[in-house]
């Protein structure tokens, strides 16, 4: 599509398809790189742009190159991070669209402009990946000739970036919840396993629960293993109860 062409019904259908594709990534196994690669390649296909690159912020607040339609774009993105200047960084910091239709005519990022022009991209547009007040990254669109993107193209890019952002945020929330649930589950299982192990030792050696606990703990210590780890292994049958009793007897012989 050229800059003079208006978005036709064919593009509308393809745009709708792109949205469905991005939303679909949430249904099956989600992979953040898949979503970002999809976003970058659909932008190039649907919009009047030559290439696209994506930066995302990591847990420590640093931007990282997460997707690019070509290797060259990946390097251009990396260059912005390393030199701490470029449209993507401004876009990320302020959470707004940043455009420059002709880098050769001047820009606030001389180092970046030089590299971009050398790579054959004279015009750039950076779209924030935002969810409410939170900006998690930036979608960078590169155009060969020195001309601005159509307003309709910027709007579509923003919409695609928004959907991808929601997909990523949803995945992060699910992952965080799963980790937190996992911690609770594992703590519950450990705590229950200790009680079960106490019961096993108490029955096997005809001692009370307190003594059973002492024996379990002594075995764990003398074998350099954690208490819950030992309890879980005993309950799962990975260590024999006879072994725990034998250790106890050896310990008694040494101390008496």
């Amino acid at each position: 599509m050229t800059e003079h062409e208006h978005p036709g019904p064919d593009r509308q259908a393809r745009a709708a398809h792109a949205f469905v594709e991005i939303v679909d990534t949430l249904v099956d196994r989600f992979d953040v790189i898949d979503v970002l690669t999809l976003l970058a390649s659909r932008c190039v296909e649907l919009l009047d742009t030559s290439a696209a690159g994506i930066l995302l912020v990591d847990d420590d607040g640093n931007l990282r190159v997460m997707g690019a339609s070509t290797e060259q774009i990946g390097l251009l993105e990396l260059f912005q991070i390393q030199n701490e200047q470029g449209p993507c960084l401004d876009c990320f910091r302020n959470g707004v669209v940043v455009t420059n239709a002709d880098l050769a005519a001047g820009s606030p990022w001389p180092l970046f402009a030089e590299q971009s022009i050398a790579a054959g991209f004279l015009s750039v547009c950076a779209v924030p990946m935002r969810f409410r007040d939170l900006t998690i990254g930036c979608l960078n669109l590169f155009v060969g000739p020195p001309r601005a993107l159509l307003a309709a193209d910027v709007t579509l890019a923003r919409a695609l970036a928004d959907v991808a952002t929601i997909a990523i945020m949803q995945d992060q929330a699910t992952r965080a919840a799963a980790i937190r649930e996992g911690r609770l589950q594992s703590a519950l299982v450990s705590r229950i396993a200790i009680e079960q192990a106490k019961g096993m030792i108490a029955e096997h050696s005809r001692v009370d629960m307190e003594e059973a606990f002492t024996r379990l703990r002594n075995f764990a210590r003398s074998n350099n293993r954690g208490l819950t780890d030992t309890a879980r292994a005993l309950v799962a049958g990975r260590i024999s109860i006879d072994l725990i009793v034998a250790t106890r007897l050896a310990h008694e012989r040494r101390t008496h």
């Binding site: 919840a177 799963a178 937190r180 649930e181 911690r183 519950l188 229950i192 009680e195 096993m200 030792i201």
Partner: protein, 242 residues
């Protein structure tokens, strides 16, 4: 969750917490939701778990029975991840959970509503609400219950997030301590019968059901060596002589 809703829930929780250092969350739930009683149970998949609190002992017996049988509105809510409303403990409810409905009738409970405590697909337990009379919750009560279950889920996960890895947060420790004897007894039975602990727990449940006694009592007897489950089919036990 609406702003007004969050404020009411926060105020009710804060009021109960300021009353006692051990947060009486269940009483706060019953207060804010205007129901006769409430229970919070932490569940760990097949691992079990237990009540963190119940607002009164009648509810404790009902929660215990569900643990004994492995069935009831609580279990259903946890497994399906959706609220279970038993607004009328009638014949249909009785067919679904026979023993539970019997005990509910005997303890003067007319309706039970179980809300799973979930967050982004993670399931941590169930909030159960009890009413003395039959009848549905109002739409406002239902919406508030969903919100309270969400707040509780976050509370539980946050408490646990601060605990040392592999150990239970002190506020949640009660959930297991409450059933410690049951787990100890299952360990003993597993050695006696040379079976895995999970199977031992099933045997104990079957025995509790057959002898019409709570599993906590069966566990107590096993730990005190007053009872030894036989190697016979479930439900047949040999009393210890001498």
């Amino acid at each position: 969750m609406s702003a007004a809703q969050s404020i009411r829930i926060a105020v009710a929780f804060a009021r109960e917490i300021s009353r006692s250092p051990e947060a009486h969350l269940c009483r706060a739930c019953a207060d804010v939701l205007v129901v006769a009683g409430a229970g919070i149970t932490i569940m760990g998949g097949t691992a079990g778990g237990g009540p963190v609190c119940v607002s009164n002992q009648r509810m404790a017996a009902l929660e215990d029975l569900q643990f004994t049988l492995g069935q009831g509105p609580c279990q259903d809510a946890f497994v399906t991840g959706a609220p279970v409303h038993a607004s009328r403990l009638d014949v249909a409810a009785s067919e679904r959970w026979p023993s539970f409905v019997d005990l509910a009738h005997a303890t003067g409970v007319g309706a039970v509503f179980a809300y799973p405590m979930t967050s982004h697909g993670a399931k941590v337990g169930v909030l159960t609400l009890y009413q003395e009379d039959q009848g549905d919750l109002s739409q406002a009560q239902h919406e508030d219950s969903l919100a309270v279950a969400e707040v509780l889920t976050e509370t539980v996960l946050s408490l646990q997030a601060e605990a040392t890895s592999g150990t239970l947060a002190s506020g949640l420790e009660d959930a297991v301590a409450y059933r410690a004897e049951i787990y100890q007894a299952s360990g003993m039975v597993s050695v006696q019968l040379h079976i895995p602990v999970d199977e031992a727990l099933l045997r104990m449940r079957a025995h509790a059901f057959a002898s019409d006694r709570p599993i906590s009592v069966i566990a107590s007897d096993i730990v005190a060596r007053r009872l030894r489950l036989g190697e016979d089919p479930p439900g047949v036990a040999r009393p210890v002589r001498g």
